[in-house]
Each structure stands twice: as C-alpha cells, then as structure tokens.
C-alpha cells in the first residue's frame, strides 16, 4: 500500500512516498504518521481522450 510518511520513522523519511505492506501502512495511518497516496487511474473523458485522475 502506498503512503506518504509525515513523521519520520526508522528507515522511513517524512515527506517521501513508500510502498509498504498493508498492515504496516494502515498502522502508520492510524497513528497519524502517514497519509495514504491515491493511485492515479487512467480514465476516459467525455471527449474521448484518456486522462489520469
């Protein structure tokens, strides 16, 4: 699970994104030490063009 660290942990620097095991990521989010990073998805717009959201 992708998260952005907000409170530096051992081996995890604040301000950077990490792909962590779900249980670790969820624990950090629960402790207010990380925020989830929304994965960008390709979507088709009304005008037929692809975009990322």
């Amino acid at each position: 699970m992708k998260v952005k660290i907000t409170c530096t942990q051992e081996g995890l620097l604040a301000g950077l994104e990490y792909d962590l095991p779900a249980e670790v990521a969820l624990m950090l989010i629960e402790e207010d030490k990380a925020v989830p990073v929304e994965e960008k998805k390709k979507v088709k717009n009304d005008n037929g063009q692809n975009d990322t959201k």
Partner: protein, 253 residues
Amino acid sequence: MTTGRTTLNNWRVYIDGYDLSGYSRTFGPLATTFDEGVDDAVSLSVKAALVGNAAVSMGTLNGLFDNTATSGIHAVMKTAGGERDVLLACGIQAAPANNDPMFCGQFMQLGYSGDPDNNPVYASIPFGNISATSAALAYSNPWGVLLHAKSARTAANSSTGLDQSASSALGGYMMYQVFAGDGTATLKVQHASTNSDGSFSDLISSGSVNCSSPLSGVVALARTATVNRYVRWQLALGTATSVTFAIGFVRGN
C-alpha cells in the same frame, strides 16, 4: 502578520515545552555562520564554504533566577549538557501572532550558572551549536514562521493557510512546543497548492503525543520532499479536549 521593526520585549522564549519568556532578559546572538577554510587566501573572490554546513547558534540566554517548582527557570534549565528544543518567537510590535518570524533549533546546553553578585540574581545559560543528534541537522536555516502562536485550541483548524509564494522541493522541518493539555493529540503542518480548507493535506506530523505534561520536538522532512505553496497548522485531538501549543515551520532552502 504585521510587518516592520520590533523590539526585544515582543520576543518569547520557549524551551522544551516551557514558556520561559517571563524569566528571560536577553539571548543571542542568533547566528548562522559559515567558517572559512583554513587555507582560504585573502585574494579569493569567494571564500570557500561547505554548502549546507553552517554553524547555527542561539548564543547565551540570560535570565532571572527563579526556583519555582517544575516550571521555574532553575527547575527547567539547571541540568546542562543535554539537547534543548528552543523556539524563539519574534512578535512584530506586539506579542507573537500566527505567521510571525521565529528562530528554532535543537541546541546543546553548555552550562548553567547563577550570579549572586547581582540583585536580582541572574541565571546565565550558554548554548552550543545545533546538536549533532538534532532531527533537523541537515538544515542550516533556523529561521522560519510561527504557524501557530502559543494559545489553547480545542478544535481542528479549518482556516486558510499562509502563502509562501511558491512550492519547493527542498524539504523543511517543524518544531512543536506543547505547554499544556489534558490528553493525547497530534500536531501537524499541512500544505496545499490551493488555499482552501479542503485542499490541505498532512505534510509533517508529531504522531500522537501525550500533552498532559510539557513536551517539544522536531520532525524533519527528507531534504528533497515537496512542500506546496500554502502551509498551515493543524491539530488532531485524541483523548485531549484542549491543547496549548506553538508550532514553527522552516521551509528548506
């Protein structure tokens, strides 16, 4: 934020979660200096210096001796040799307000001495440079903004933030000073590209801390972390219903 000149009586001194302003007379010099190399010739047009390797110092804190239990300057500062979280808030023509300048760092306390020759008795507390164990050791700039001036809060912040002109990708760090509280809470700096409440996301967090007794800390971002243009303080209450705190933020440069 008011702009203009100010005077010493508008500064406030916060150390390790204690407000020592009422005991402090002078402090400084607040210095950021780069040493010259020992082999720098006088003819060098630009003197050599290691980038990002400045010596940051807050000089000496001169205060009035007071042995009030727990919170007096003697009780708080009598043990030298340790690292202190120091936040010096610079009010402009008044007591410090949100977004005023501030100077902060984790400094080694080099000594503590009383001077009984004077009346009242002075306490003199010299500080060394930024501590080698400081979380913000990678940063040479101790000057930032007081995102949250000392005051009690009972709810989260839904206001817009401070416009710092542009985003940057040079990290930054937060110092928090918690003076009082009645349970756990998380102190944060949030950032956004658009200055509206719903746009802010967490940038730096203290993690959940117990605010029942004074505490302080520094949380530093990685040196390459992106900080968006707008920043603001944030409080997430845990078991606490009220927290009295100050937050300083330094954007990396």
